[in-house]
Structures are given as C-alpha cells and as structure tokens.
C-alpha cells in the first residue's frame, strides 16, 4: 500500500515538473540589444593621431587594443591608480612597437605576435603600491592576453637606466609571462633554486645576496614564475656590462651581521680593525673598498681612507661564499632553460632577440619615433 502511495505522489510530481519545464522551452533569444557602434576614427578628435597609429600598428596588425585612456574599472580597484598622461602614452606606444613588437616580428616572424601576443595593453600612470610591504607593481600579465604597464607618468625618456628598469624590462618580463601562461616552461627550471625563494621578504633582500643564490634580481627570488620572467627580461635588456655585473655579484660570497635577519644588509668584504686578525671582523660596503694590482698581477684590496696604528692600509678580505650554491652557474643554467624553451616551444632565438633589443634600445631616437604619430594627418 505504501508503495502505491509513493507511486501516485511521484507521478504527480513528475507531471507538474514536466509541465513547468515545457513552458520554459518557449524562450527564444531576441535580436541583440547592443547597438551597432561606428568604430571609424574621427579626424577632428583630439587624440586622432595616436588613435590612428594604434589602430594601424596594433589593432589591425595584431588585433590588440592599446588602452591609454584608463577606465578605472579595467584595473584592480583595491589600488589607487591614476591614468597615464597623453604625451607619455604616445612615447610608450611607439617604444613598445620599436622595442617589443618589431623585434619579435623580426626574430620570430610576423605571425608570431599575431598568434601569441597580448590582446590588450593597458597603460597606467602610477605604480600600484602595496603599502604594507613597501613594494610597487610596475607590470602585470593576466590570462595570457592582457599586459598592464604601470608608472607611465614617471617616465624620464632620456634616462636610459630608468627606462630600461621600469619599462623596457617590464615589457619583456610581462610578455614572458604571457608566453608561459600559454605554453608552460620545463619544470626543471623550478628545481634550480628551490628552497631559496621568499615571497614575503624578497623586497628586503640585497641584489648581491640573491645573485649569489642564483637570481638575477631580488624580485626573481620571490617565486618560480617571476624568476623565469625576470631571467628572460634581464638577459634581454641588460647591457653586457650590466649583465656581467650581475654575474660578478653572483660569484662572490655574501654575509651579514645577522644571517637570520633577512632584512639585514649583506656584504661581500670585511676587514679586521687595525689589521689585527684576533679582533672581530667588520663588514664593509663595496664602495668603501679600493683595489690595487701588483706588477705580478696580484690583486690587493684595502679599506678606503683608513690606516692602522702603524700607518699601514687596512687590508680588506673577500667574504667566503658559504651558501653552497654556484650563483653564476645557477643563473646561466636558468638562461639556458629559457633559451631552449623559447627555441623549441616558440621558435624564438633568445640571443638573437637580445642582440636586436640591445641594438635598438641604445640607438633609438624618440623624436623620430614620435613622428610616426605626429606626422599622421
């Protein structure tokens, strides 16, 4: 009897459900509610020249929207940000083309960026500050399609080191992210410096200390992916002199007065007060050390401006490299993995890329590049 009751009840439920479902099947999509917007550029617009340049060189060529008029909604609203200036937007638009897109076109072929390049580049005037850590975001790559370049209003176009550090490097750094977000890099890379990343305190580390651990920058020591992007970007944009300096730092030993304190300052030189080796050693900064080379080629290092009680110069010693890591080898190993990955996964020759970028970033004339925009009529 109980079974029949359940049966009747279930039948009723099914019937009602069927009725209600069938009534829903009448829904049909109507015509689009979105208007057919005319995308034709207006020559009387204040920004026509830049808009036309962007349309011709980014949108039509790469299906890329270059956003320089910043809608706050396109950003992380947790940050206080401001738009880029129009003038700096022009400069960065032509520089991105010259130092990034044209380079990849040349090295990887014209279809490379069409296929794998970002679809949105967003310019933001200010950095995105993280007040608690004291760090700032100068670039972001999201979802394999969007690159945000920050701090655009701080650009000093004639300051090569500044432009290199904050803009040129950021372009290649973020593009490296876009690429590995599309095709992952070998896991072997992540094993080289495993155990030495510090995502919380990377900003407090010194460049010498992290180089000795096998990182090209302090930021590279924050996590695997940033290490990967930093390795590629720094290899591409750093001049030979700058790159060799990183390797030189990596070859030294580093120590601080308090090894347990990650925020303490690290040194690669030390001396004994009054040249008395029985006393506690004192660490000394690089800029307080001067070097002399003997006739036989022996290198001597001394503490600048100080002598012992007998009038002898204070001898400076190299800190012993005790971290157990060959920093130079680690960095070069990472570069090699990136080199192989770029070649095999993307058909890009990293060294050719570097050579091209090195030439361009030391030879560009911003006034000539700007003409691509200002000569548009």
């Amino acid at each position: 009897m109980k079974k029949i009751q359940y049966f009747i009840s279930a039948l009723l439920l099914v019937a009602v459900a069927a009725m209600s479902l069938s009534s829903c099947s009448e829904d049909k999509l109507g015509p689009t509610i979105f208007p057919d917007v005319d995308e034709t550029l207006d020559p009387s617009s204040y920004t026509y020249q830049l808009d036309k340049f962007l349309e011709d060189n980014y949108l039509k060529k790469y299906n890329l929207t270059f956003l320089y008029k910043m809608p706050d909604v396109s950003t992380n609203m947790n940050y206080n940000l401001v738009p880029a200036t129009y003038e700096n937007s022009i400069d960065l638009a032509v520089l991105c083309k010259y130092l990034w897109f044209d380079v990849y076109d040349k090295v990887g072929g014209e279809d490379f960026l069409k296929s794998y390049g970002p679809r949105i580049i967003l310019l933001i005037g200010s950095p995105a500050y993280n007040p608690t850590s004291g760090t700032e975001i100068v670039g972001l790559a999201e979802g394999g399609i969007k690159v945000s370049l920050f701090k655009v209003n701080a650009m000093r176009i004639n300051d090569f080191n500044m432009m290199n550090e904050y803009y040129f490097k950021t372009m290649h750094h973020e593009f490296a992210h876009i690429l590995h977000q599309t095709k992952t890099y070998p896991n072997e890379f992540n094993t080289i410096s495993i155990g030495h990343y510090d995502s919380n305190n990377w900003q407090d580390r010194s460049e010498g200390q992290v180089a000795s651990l096998g990182f090209v920058t302090t930021y590279a020591s924050s996590e695997f992916r940033e290490d990967f992007a930093e390795t590629i970007a720094n290899y591409i944009v750093k001049t030979d002199e700058q790159w060799n300096y990183i390797l030189d730092l990596a070859s030294r030993g580093w120590a601080s007065g308090d090894e347990d304190d990650v925020t303490s300052q690290f040194f690669c030189y030390y001396y004994y007060p009054n040249n008395d080796v029985t006393q506690d050693l004192v660490y000394v900064s690089e800029w307080n050390v001067f070097t002399e080379v003997d006739e036989d080629g022996t290198v001597h290092k001394y503490w600048r401006n100080n002598k012992d009680s007998e009038g002898n110069r204070i001898v400076v010693y190299d800190v012993e490299d005790k971290d157990g890591i060959d920093g130079v080898e680690a960095i070069l190993q990472k570069v090699q993995i990136a080199r192989t990955w770029l070649k095999e996964s993307w058909g890009i020759d990293l060294d050719q890329l570097r050579e091209e970028v090195q030439y361009r970033q030391s030879h560009y004339d911003i006034n000539e590049l700007r003409k691509q925009v200002t000569d548009i009529h």
């Binding site: 009840s9 209600s20 320089y68 206080n80």
Partner: protein
C-alpha cells in the same frame, strides 16, 4: 495515509509556485527601451549637456571628508579634450611652490562619458592639476613626522557617476569613494585665471585669522561658534557648550559665490549646507534663507580685549578729521614732531581702553595715552567714558596739542555707531558719531 497526502499536496503547491515563477523569465516592461539603448542614450545626452553652451563648468571637488573642497573650472570640448583649471596649495606644490601658496594651474587632458552601471564621467588621461588628488603618492607635508600616505594619497576620485541634471547643475558621485559633488554651468566667456583668482579672494574675505571665531546664527536665535574658518575645516560647537567635548568638524568648499558644507548638517534641528555671500559680507543660508554666518555683534568685536585697532586717519571725516589735521600741525609746531599713529586697545594692566597717540620725535615715539571705559549700547553702538587717567606723555603732549584733548572729549561726549565692510570678517570698523554722521573715523585690525 492522510498525513502523507497532505505532505504530497503541500509539496505540489510549493513546487508549482516555484516552477511557474521560474518560467516567468522577463519582468514586466518598465522602460520603453532596453538597458543598453538607454545607457547609450544617457551617454549621448550627458555628453551633449557637458559640451553645450561653451562647455564650461565649475566642479566643487572633494577628495575626501577630511580636507577642504576645491573649485575647478572645466571646459569640455567635443573633440574629447578638457581644460581643467584650479587654484589651490596642492597645485602650488606641483609647481614647486611652498605648500601654503594657492597657485593657479591649467592643463588640457582627456575626458569621456563612459558607461558602466550608468553613465560615468571619466577624466581618463592624467591632468597634473586635477589627478593630484587621486595620485597614490605620499601627500607632501610640512611636518617631517607626518604619516606616509604612499599607496593612498588623498584618495580622490577622477571618475564620477552622473546622477542627474537639473537647472544647469550636474549631480555627480565619485565612483570609487562615493562622495557626492555638484557641477554648475559657467559662462563660456569667463576667464579661468580671473575666475579662480576671484574664488581665492572670496576665501580670503570670508575667514580672517585676525577674527578667531565667528558664529552660525540659527533661526531660533541660538548661535554655534565656528573656529578654524581659514582652514575650511570648521570646528563648531553650540555657544556656551563645552568646546572640547562637543565640538564637531565639517569640511567646506568656498566657491565663486559663497560657501557650502560637503554634506548637509543639522544644528538644533535646522539642516543647512549652502551659503551665499551677501553685500554686507555675511553668509546667508540658501537652504532656509534665514540662517547666517557672521562675526559677533560689532560692539563686542570692537571691545575684544585682545584687539589693537589702528586708525586709518585718511578715512576719517568731520570733527575727527579736523582734530587730527590740527594735531599734526600742533605737533609740527612743537619741535617738528610727527603723529605716527593713533590706536585704540585694551590695557590689561589698567583694565581700561586706551586711545593712544604716537608722537615721533627724533626717531623716538612717545605715546600719549588717555584711558576710558567702554560700553555697548546696542549691537552696533558703543559709548566711551573718559576716566581722567592719562599717561605721562599725554600730560606733556596734551598741553602742546589741544586737539588731543578735543578728540578725547569727542569720544567722551557721544555715542558711536559701528559699521564694517564685512560682517563675517570685520577687520575694518567705521565709527560714526551717532549725532553727527559727518564725523567718523575708521579703525583697522
């Protein structure tokens, strides 16, 4: 069984109502057009509003609730550019001036009405004179121990929800921080620099540091004391109440026409916000047309014991002018002495008001002082009573200069009416003989 059927029926009713409800996938049409079309239309309408009639607007901008508001003039053009002009101390800092110098700045940047949940006015390229309030850099400060605001800045908006438009006024709301503001249309022929100079001059005329407190005079005849007016962060408390425990602060903006609180405030049941400057220098509440902001009654102001009033002898008439002229002649005849000043102040040591004639002789000034008591005989009337006390110099100079005594007698014999060019900042006071309007003297703080 009965129980089971009841449950089944109940389930059916609930299920039916749910399913029927879920099938109604469109609510009744409230609007004639769909959302996108309405947004698009609103965007076009606000763009038209902003650019029409020359496209010039005054924005009453507030970065946050703890800073004064600032006026900006904006000229919107159909080509997507906007010229933004302002004059304030933060622009001064951008221009390399001291933090305290209001400086004019004007720059052209970009604007657009974009659509989000509704139409949004976006200033979407950086304008160094306007976006400084949204910039996350540390706020410059004269105080070395000041908080580091890096990452926050002033936390001002540069995108604004366009709420409504009425009578050449746009009601807007900061998109991120939600502060309500207004924009009012300005004659397109207005010169930005002149206009902003006038706004700053208006601010200077409102609150003068020499008048440390003014009053909000409510319709019920109660008064609220207002301090720190010159900072535009008003400290207010009911007259007679304990300042420390009851004072509240409100930020205001000084515009071309008057003063407004950032938000409406309610004092003793009266809600006020916007004030218009009157010809007598007072501020009249636009919301109730009754509440005013003024300094104290003029007789009290004049008798303030910390004030030192200096006579502007050029701005005197009748017997005052005659006696002063004679006094100068008499002093010159007395060994080529000169009248260097005429002052009136409260002498704390004697608990008397004094009129003091500065007599310059061979680079030394001798002060001939005559002492009075004073009484207010009305809001704007004052009477002096000479006590017969005088300084040693007055004994000597009074003999040689009879006009000094004449002025003392004139002060002693009449009632004087006080008027000022600004009831809010009465730093000048014209004192007229109530029995003879031709006789007057002007005092300045």
């Amino acid at each position: 069984m009965k129980k089971f059927l009841n449950i089944s029926l109940l389930s059916l009713v609930v299920l039916s109502s749910l399913t029927l409800g879920s099938c109604k996938n469109e609510i009744d049409e409230i609007f004639d057009e769909d959302a996108v079309a309405r947004l698009d239309k609103a965007k076009a309408e606000f763009t038209e509003i902003l650019t029409s009639n020359g496209g010039k607007w005054q924005m009453e901008y507030y970065a946050n609730a703890n800073e004064p508001g600032y006026v900006y003039l904006m000229t919107f053009r159909t080509d997507g550019s906007v010229t933004i002009s302002g004059k304030n101390e933060w622009i001064g800092y951008v221009e390399g001036e001291s933090l305290k110098v209001p400086t004019f700045g004007s720059q052209t940047s970009l604007w657009e009405v974009i659509t989000d949940n509704g139409p949004v006015l976006s200033f979407n390229s950086f304008n160094k004179y306007f976006h400084l309030f949204a910039d996350p850099e540390d706020i410059p400060s004269l105080d070395e121990e000041a908080t580091d605001e890096t990452g926050y800045g002033h936390e001002g908006d540069y995108e604004f929800d366009l709420m409504r438009y009425s009578n050449d006024t746009l009601y807007i709301s900061g998109k991120k921080y939600g502060i309500d503001m207004i924009m009012t249309r300005v004659d397109a022929n207005v010169d930005d620099h002149v206009y902003m100079d006038e706004v700053v001059a208006m601010a200077d005329s409102f609150f003068n540091a020499k008048i440390p407190q003014v009053y909000i005079n409510l319709p019920n005849d109660t008064r609220w004391v207002v301090k720190n007016g010159a900072s535009s962060i008003l400290k207010m408390f009911r007259e007679g109440a304990d300042e420390i425990s009851t004072a509240e602060t409100h930020n205001v903006i000084i515009t071309h026409d008057g003063l407004s609180f950032m938000n409406p405030i309610t004092l003793d049941g009266y809600t006020i916000q916007n004030f218009i400057r009157q010809a007598d220098g007072s501020l009249l509440c636009r919301d109730d047309n009754t509440t005013t902001i003024t300094a104290d009654i003029l007789s009290n102001v004049f008798m303030t014991q910390t004030f030192n009033w200096k006579a502007d002898t050029v701005q005197s008439g009748g017997e005052f002018a005659n006696f002063i002229r004679s006094m100068k002649t008499e002093l010159n005849d007395y060994g080529k002495r000169k009248l260097s000043s005429v002052q009136m102040y409260y002498d704390n040591s004697l608990s008397r008001y004094a009129i003091s004639f500065g007599c310059l002789y061979q680079k030394r000034t001798f002060y001939a002082n005559y002492y009075f008591t004073a009484e207010a005989v009305g809001d704007n009337q004052i009477k002096f009573h000479y006590t017969g006390e005088l300084s040693d110099a007055a004994v000597i100079y009074g003999e040689k200069c009879p006009s000094m005594n004449s002025i003392v007698q004139l002060l002693n014999s009449s009632t004087f009416t006080l008027t000022t060019s600004s009831l809010l900042a009465p730093v000048d006071m014209k004192m007229t003989d109530s029995g003879n309007s031709a006789t007057y003297i002007t005092w300045r703080l």
